[in-house]
Symmetry: C2
Amino acid sequence: MAPDEEQAEAPPVIDVATPIAQQIADGDVAAAIALARGLHPAEMARALMGLEGDHRTLLLAQLDLAELAPIVGYLEPRYRSAVFEGRSPTELTRLAVALPDDLAADLIQSLPREDAEAVVAGLSRRARGLLQALTDYPPDTAAGRMTGQVFTVSAHYTVAQTIQALRGQRPEAQQNFCPYLVDDDGRLLAMVEFSKLLFATPGTRLSALSSEAVSVRAETDQEEAARVLKRHKLLALPVVNADGRLLGTLTVDDVLDVLEDEATEDMLLLAGVSEDEALESVFDSVRYRLPWLGVNLVALMLAAWVIAQFESTIARAAVLAIFLPVVLGQGGNGGLQTVTVVVRSLALGRIAPRNTLRLAGSETATALITGGAIGLTVGLLAWVWQGNLWLGVLVGVAILGNQIVGAIAGVLFPMGLQLIRQDPAVSAPIWLTNATDVLGAVMLLGLATLLISFL
Amino acid sequence: MAPDEEQAEAPPVIDVATPIAQQIADGDVAAAIALARGLHPAEMARALMGLEGDHRTLLLAQLDLAELAPIVGYLEPRYRSAVFEGRSPTELTRLAVALPDDLAADLIQSLPREDAEAVVAGLSRRARGLLQALTDYPPDTAAGRMTGQVFTVSAHYTVAQTIQALRGQRPEAQQNFCPYLVDDDGRLLAMVEFSKLLFATPGTRLSALSSEAVSVRAETDQEEAARVLKRHKLLALPVVNADGRLLGTLTVDDVLDVLEDEATEDMLLLAGVSEDEALESVFDSVRYRLPWLGVNLVALMLAAWVIAQFESTIARAAVLAIFLPVVLGQGGNGGLQTVTVVVRSLALGRIAPRNTLRLAGSETATALITGGAIGLTVGLLAWVWQGNLWLGVLVGVAILGNQIVGAIAGVLFPMGLQLIRQDPAVSAPIWLTNATDVLGAVMLLGLATLLISFL
């Protein structure tokens, strides 16, 4: 089959959730469980996330801990709490032991205080030590996201000794067991690429095979650490404390989650949604969205107040009310394009506040062209439609002016927020719409007041 | 130092571009080159991307091919063409040989036809075969993104034979050389985890160590393939053709790029920017943004036409013009929240069109609460401010009604676009704003026309 024929019939993702949901809806929970048990843990996690909340709870309650442990890592973080709900401290302790330690730390942090203490008390001394580092740091730092299952050796180890030591590691470490060389105090010295272990003779000392290790400090923001890993194309990034002691590694699969989470967060924030919601809970949706709608309302009421100052102008030329939403809408749309491009480029590290002037210049140039084209079009339409040349000029000029307001505000607000170390995605769109609404109304209605005898 | 103290002073990313830009601005290109040469290729790529276009061109022209080859892979794709510009076919052939083959394929695809043919003719027969598979498929498929440097062995190989064969591989394969077992026709049978090679005795046959290999078809969309890799927490995902023959692997570092690119694309599309722009080119910005502003203008003019039908109502009660932008703005904002959450959840595979009814229900419930709260607030404000109870009722009801329009349209438009296999991010926001502008205006001004004697 030729490639371009194949193109048309690319296979869709298989829907694993619907057959299970169907069985539950038919009242046959046992059959649903049997279907779920036949899936790879990754697919089982996908099926669970695809179910409605109550079906998910029903199914989870029927699975035992040995079945759940391999699934937890594949569940998106916000679905994990459903696994832990309604389990006794003894069950939770067994689960914590079976989980990789970053997940165990998440589990413990999500529990009420006394349950968390009971679970920690049930762990081995070594496990408690590992978890300590993870729970000491906020979850959005490199240390809060890392896995503690790092494999360290002394520089004087031979290849044979290293392989022997590796055999004793737990299988979770498998994707991540490139050995790190540390000194007697556990400070990171260097790393050994895994392939070198395979090709070297057994008696070679690791110090002869080692190369420099890129690392980040424990308190580094998770997104910044993710970008370091991505930039250096690493599979794991060592995380060290202030003394240079190796605490663990941030692995590439965690980085995939971090970068997607950060993109989701920015995208939702730009639309005024403050948290990634489960889309099922009306209560959460209201809680995450109402505050921003409220703030935006203040902005809109300010615009309304500005418009009210021109009420007598509107009463004399009601036709202005027809074009007011066009002027405000186009300014807001153009400005939001600028804000979005600037916010995303800041997040991807492509631009920095020092580029503000240059960007404001090129965005203004863009706005002159787009605003000119749109202002001319609407101006001509207004002239022909309403038979008034002055109205056309007025509307066209206001549209062009508001496009320029949107471009400049669309650069200055996110850059300014970044400079004062605020998240530019959070409030830049509100400030922007505020600027285009208020200044757009002032331009259209102010000019109209001057030209009222011609309208 | 305690972790929470450290938190406050997390080190910023070091700015590698500014010192180089400074040297170029001072006219000392040689010093700038010397600075750049002192950096790791990953950091050098970051510095190049941080420079202004003409500074970048200046610097690239001074670097020779041996220095450029290791950098290309670290450059974001849209900066790569700058490396290839102004090079002779001979130079480009040398570069193609030095690059990993997915990058070489990109290079060749980006060249004018005769240059591309000259470069391909200069490659070895084996390299031409590898590149063929990459250039046969569109760049946004699994095969278009994969690397062809995959390491295959027969199932009857021993561990010792495999390690011997691995030694002959090129160092780029290093992150990606987990062996895949194939039959005599090159069809993928299974994979061997790398750790098993290290721990097994030299005489063990690979068939005894192998495990099932998750794979995708060559024509699979890159985003879907990226999600398969992410779901199974793989470091490389085998790509096979219709006959099951192994063509190459999609590696985790490419998947990081794919998922970020797709998130960027969706984010920009939601704001009406059709392509990821370089932010320096005014011409590109206009080209990527003007079409959407134009389409949106049609939508806004439709709303203006609707408003014009109520011109006599507005002439009798100019106060309506004050509240019109509030009603339209809040409906659009609320609806855009819904659209954004739905588009992102579709992209992340959390929901599908079959969830439409349930979602429309929960979004409407959310809109009843947020719209009720905002409608009541604005209604009371309008009553007190303008001293007219009926005006307050009218504005409050229109806001509530438009919030519900936004919620329902915000679910139906993206879901409908997904059903007819269109990208929901492209036009859902336009349709949405159209619905809330037109129906919001009809509700406010229609009700006002009925109640005109009370206003």
